[in-house]
């Protein structure tokens, strides 16, 4: 026969921190947990080791808590409420990468007497919360580098964002392990789906895996309503940005192919319906072309090819239906200059231009043309000194958009490549 539950049930023993005195200055200190191993005196900054089964014996280990003047956003003892449970900051640590304080991670150890520790960390204004896990990483850790994919045995996929070497520069409060300024760790940081983070730390041959999340400003506010924090946004992981850069390059390549195809198609498109040469004298007096038919399908392009050479031409062109029904009037500035300067040849402008018309009804049309032109620096003229060849094409496509698309595609590929290269350099 066994004893019933009610005879065995007991009230919960009360929790009370352990009272000790600093081994160096005698200041009264409070040890929050019987598992504590390291405590830094809040008065004299001496670092003591806690020993004995009751953790009430202090042994002076060394002076100082490390880097003086270290700024922490949260004080020791700060309350942090997470999933209905209140934790307190029992220790603070400053970890520095590559001996460069610009790359500092502040870790706040969150304590509850009856729950596993949580680790609140802050790097460049981005806050995260981590806890220890027991699953393992597949494959050999030595082969894991930044950008590499990895899987854990619980079936999740991760991407290594960084492999970092950190040194402990500052410590205060009380910790359940032995720690001292100068301790080093190497950490593999991974990004998972939905903002999940994974960090594997290797210290003296031991490996510890912690999983967590990036905290939002709202989560931090709810966890610590009494604290105002500047919260940054987590940068997108390098591997994700590399993927973006590859996507940009792929989009550029796609645009290149597409616009190249469009350009190849448009360059030879349309049907020539009229071609005529006009002399300088004709143009000066206002010339009328021979009639030509238009079916009204698609765009009409009028290509003007002049023999302007180191000079300019201003031409007015009217599309006339029948004998005198003007349906569209436009003009064109043509200028072409070239030369040799300092041993190098140069040129600017073009001796041709293309005009576009849309919406012509089916019928017979003519062109009315009048032009003036000049040579060199002449700014005005009363007559044309140059002739003009006019070609009318119906059903043409404006290849300018395809050309612009091609240029844009090349620029996109270049941008993607520069992004990719920059990220790769950063990753290295």
């Amino acid at each position: 026969m066994t004893a019933p539950f009610d005879t065995l049930q007991q009230p919960r023993p009360a929790y009370a921190p352990i009272a000790v005195q600093c081994a160096h200055c005698g200041a009264p200190l409070q040890v929050p947990d019987e598992r504590a191993e390291t405590i830094v005196c809040s008065r004299c900054d001496s670092r003591c080791r806690l020993t004995g089964p009751q953790r009430d014996a202090l042994e002076l280990v060394g002076p100082g808590k490390g880097q003086t003047g270290t700024r922490f956003d949260l004080p020791l003892g700060q309350s942090f409420r997470w999933r209905g449970t209140r934790y307190e900051v029992c220790a603070r640590m400053l970890w520095v990468e590559e001996n460069d304080p610009a790359y500092s991670t502040r870790v706040y150890v969150l304590y509850h007497p009856r729950r596993p520790l949580l680790f609140l960390d802050e790097y460049a204004g981005v806050w995260g919360l981590m806890h220890k896990v027991h699953y393992a990483l597949m494959g050999r850790l030595e082969e894991v580098q930044a950008g590499r994919r990895a899987r854990t045995f619980d079936g999740r996929k991760w991407t290594c964002s960084e492999v970092v070497y950190r040194d402990l520069w500052h410590i205060d409060g009380c910790l359940p392990w032995r720690a001292e300024v100068g301790d080093s760790v190497v950490a593999w940081e991974f990004d998972g789906e939905d903002g999940a983070r994974l960090e594997l730390e290797a210290v003296d041959g031991e490996r510890e895996l912690n999983e967590g999340v990036v905290l939002t400003a709202d989560q931090l506010r709810r966890a610590m309503p009494d604290v105002q924090l500047k919260v940054g946004t987590a940068p997108r992981p390098v591997h994700a940005r590399l993927r973006d850069a590859r996507l940009v390059m792929a989009a550029g390549a796609f645009g290149l192919v597409l616009n190249g195809g469009v350009l190849a198609t448009t360059l030879g498109s349309g049907k020539q319906v009229h071609s005529e040469q006009f002399s300088a004298q004709q143009l000066s007096e206002e010339a009328t072309s021979k009639p030509f038919p238009l079916t009204g399908k698609g765009l009409v392009s009028i290509e003007l090819d002049s023999n302007v050479d180191n000079g300019w031409m201003y031409a007015q062109v009217a599309l006339v239906q029948g004998d005198d029904a003007v349906v569209h009037v436009t003009d064109a500035d043509i200028s072409y200059y070239h030369g040799v300067e300092g041993g190098e040849s140069w040129s600017e402008g073009s001796d041709s231009a293309t005009l576009w018309f849309r919406g012509a009804e089916p019928g017979e049309y003519r062109l009315h043309l009048k032009a003036v032109s000049g040579l060199g620096e002449t700014e005005s003229a009363l007559a044309s000194q140059h002739g003009l060849r006019v070609v009318v094409v119906e059903g043409a496509h404006r290849s300018i958009w395809a050309i612009a698309g091609l240029v844009g595609s090349v620029a996109t590929i270049l941008l993607g490549f520069l992004l990719y290269k920059g990220l790769k350099d950063q990753e290295d």
Partner: protein, 216 residues
């Protein structure tokens, strides 16, 4: 209903109601560790007092794990050198069940793992196991996380295990690669036989106690 009413052989204080299979008790009054010897209480010559208030479980706690009600009968605290862990002996009590089964919940750095003894297994000795080694036990694969030597530094309550303060044994523990299951291995100090405990890591939110003591 009657129970074996026993007094502490050292101070005469009444010991808790004795449950079947209990082989060691700690007197709450004088801290004497009492061993049951041929149905008689014997003073083991050891005293034991463990700190209170720093653990989630406690002797006399009643709670529920995965739908099973349990009561904590007692604990053993083992030291591994720089630190220690507790092994809580729990008795399961499901409504309608005639027998009560026992479960050990390990509490290490406030992490909980619920394990049951799976008996002896032919395993390599502790000298041959290293952290990272793979061990197959009861149809599951495990990765050893820690190998060391444990010393019992105290007991409290009632225990169905013959363990006294000062005793040492070699141990190893680990997890299944997916992090769900846990394993504990103890090597007998006399014959070197390995006893295996297999269980699962307990998500703190899946275990509830009638008195959680969340306000601290």
């Amino acid at each position: 209903m009657s129970f074996d009413r026993v007094q502490c052989p050292s101070c005469g204080a009444p010991l808790p109601d004795r449950n079947p299979g209990i082989v060691v008790s700690a007197c709450a009054h004088c801290e004497t560790v009492v061993a049951w010897d041929q149905d008689a209480a014997r003073d083991s010559g050891h005293k034991s007092r463990l700190p209170q208030g720093f653990t989630r479980l406690y002797t006399g706690a009643v709670g529920e794990l995965k739908g099973h009600r349990f009561v904590v009968l007692g604990r053993v605290r083992y030291s591994y050198g720089p630190g220690f862990w507790d092994e809580w002996c729990c008795e399961l009590h499901d409504d309608g069940a005639a027998d009560r089964t026992r479960l050990w919940i390990t509490e290490d750095d406030h992490e909980l793992a619920a394990e049951t003894g799976r008996g002896a297994m032919a395993l390599p000795g502790p000298q041959e196991l290293r952290p990272g080694a793979r061990v197959d036990a009861h149809g599951k694969g495990f990765v050893i996380e820690e190998v060391g030597r444990a010393e019992c530094i105290g007991i409290e309550g009632q225990l169905p295990r013959d363990v006294l303060p000062g005793e040492t044994y070699a141990y190893a523990d680990g997890s299944s690669p997916d992090g769900r299951y846990s394993i504990g291995i103890e090597w007998d100090r006399d014959d070197g036989q390995a006893t295996v405990f297999v269980g699962h890591w307990v998500n703190p939110d899946t275990l509830s106690l009638d008195d959680e003591g969340l306000d601290w």
